[in-house]
């Protein structure tokens, strides 16, 4: 009996400890000082659909075949058949009751006419000038890919191509910082829409020892906002920026930074 009660007491003590730990965890007590940065990932969505792969092409063909098999003949097809019959009769030199039908344009003539008109229309090329010149600054490149905006920026004493970023100032929410970063780095000519008030990616890095000792801050935490490119062109020519697709991004970004960025981006 006594043993049981002592056990119960122990359990209740344990519970209290757990509760205490949880309570402590709820109120954050930052022991280390971190700089808060905000970065914005601007992404242009693909403009055209990617080319179908082999299986997709085959399946598309199958669907087309099935559709034809299950369909009934259309009015146009019926008319074509009637035309053909009439022509046959004419060739045989037989008299046809209603001559009006022959003097009219046959369907084949019409189809030729339409095809002629259609051939005059040339759709734009999927491979653009920018693709041929490999112009990384152009938004007109790799139309079937997602493109991400990277800017050459100085971090510490080195330059990197990274997402445009800036430090949070006092009194700002992170979203406001993101807006400001965009204004300062990209300007107002490019229209983008930031998706929500919450950051969608995170990256942190530590400062080298001497800075750490001087300022007392351990490093920087970068909160990355996602923004969709809507329209407009960059007018500032002195900026060193690139629009990159996923594979190029992997090559250009610093490796660890890239793994963080990759976490919140769509495949492809």
């Amino acid at each position: 009996m006594l043993r049981n009660t002592s056990k119960l007491l122990q359990i209740s003590n344990g519970l209290q400890n757990i509760l205490k730990v949880q309570l402590c965890g709820r109120t954050p007590t930052p022991t280390e000082n971190w700089d808060l940065l905000t970065a914005v990932c601007i992404e242009r969505r693909p403009i055209i659909t990617p080319e179908l792969n082999k299986l997709e092409k085959e399946y598309k063909q199958l669907l087309d075949e099935l559709e034809l098999e299950r369909s009934l003949k259309s009015d146009t097809e019926l008319r074509h058949e009637a035309d053909m019959k009439n022509l046959e009769l004419l060739r045989k030199g037989e008299d046809i009751a209603d001559k009006d039908t022959i003097s009219k344009q046959t369907l084949q003539d019409l189809v030729d006419l339409w095809n002629d008109e259609a051939s005059k229309f040339k759709p734009a090329n999927k491979i653009t000038e920018a693709d041929k010149k490999n112009d990384l600054k152009s938004l007109n490149r790799k139309l079937d890919k997602h493109l991400v905006f990277v800017l050459n920026q100085k971090v510490g004493d080195k330059n990197f191509y990274i997402l445009p970023q800036g430090a949070r100032e006092d009194g700002e929410t992170l979203r406001q910082t993101a807006d400001r970063v965009l204004r300062q780095n990209v300007g107002t000519d490019v229209k983008v829409q930031i998706y929500g008030n919450a950051p969608c990616g995170f990256y942190k890095y530590k400062y080298p020892g001497d800075i750490k000792n001087e300022t007392g801050t351990v490093g920087a935490k970068v909160f990355i906002y996602f923004a969709r490119y809507l329209g407009g062109q960059l007018t500032q020519t002195n900026l060193d920026y690139k629009w990159l697709d996923r594979t190029e991004l992997q090559k250009t970004l610093p490796p660890q930074y890239n793994t963080s960025v990759k976490q919140f981006l769509f495949d492809g």
Binding site: T49, L72, L78
Partner: protein, 198 residues
Amino acid sequence: MSLQNIISRLSRIALHGPNRVRNISTSTILQFRSTPVLLAEPLKKKKRLDPAVVRAREERKKKKIEKQIRRLEKSARTLKPIDECEVSIEIKDELGKRKRDLAALSCELLEKRVELEKQWCQYRREQHLTDIQMLDRITNAQQKALDELKKESEELYQEAIQFDFHLMPFNSKGPVETPAVEEYDAPDGDYQDISKKW
């Protein structure tokens, strides 16, 4: 003090002084009013109607309304036809004429088709799985960012999880088959609305 003086003093107490001028006015104080001009003639004597005629008239009115109600109820039961879903009578008549006489498919081809269907199913399933994993990964990344933010500052975290009303009328244009031709002047057609009014 002379008498004159006393009178002038008392005249202030009196309601109307001896030498006040009376003005004509329509204000209520003087109770002077103008009455409206009466140009009406006495009301006409009401014509007496035969009660049978009145009853007949009412009945006719009632019948008319009832007829309308009946018509509405009748049309309420029949649904508005959907042109796209209904086969027109012409096509029904010409059904035999419109049948395609295609050669029967060979066993080999059918086999191949089934194979292709299966491949397609697998392909789509894999695509679906990778999509779900991708979405998982993205939400996790965001959750991680929010958790880190919460560690830094509760206030900023609360700000970050607020709803963004700029997002709300959301529209998006999907990718298209070919890019837009620059400076293309699209030919305008005539638009005729031939949908029936119901």
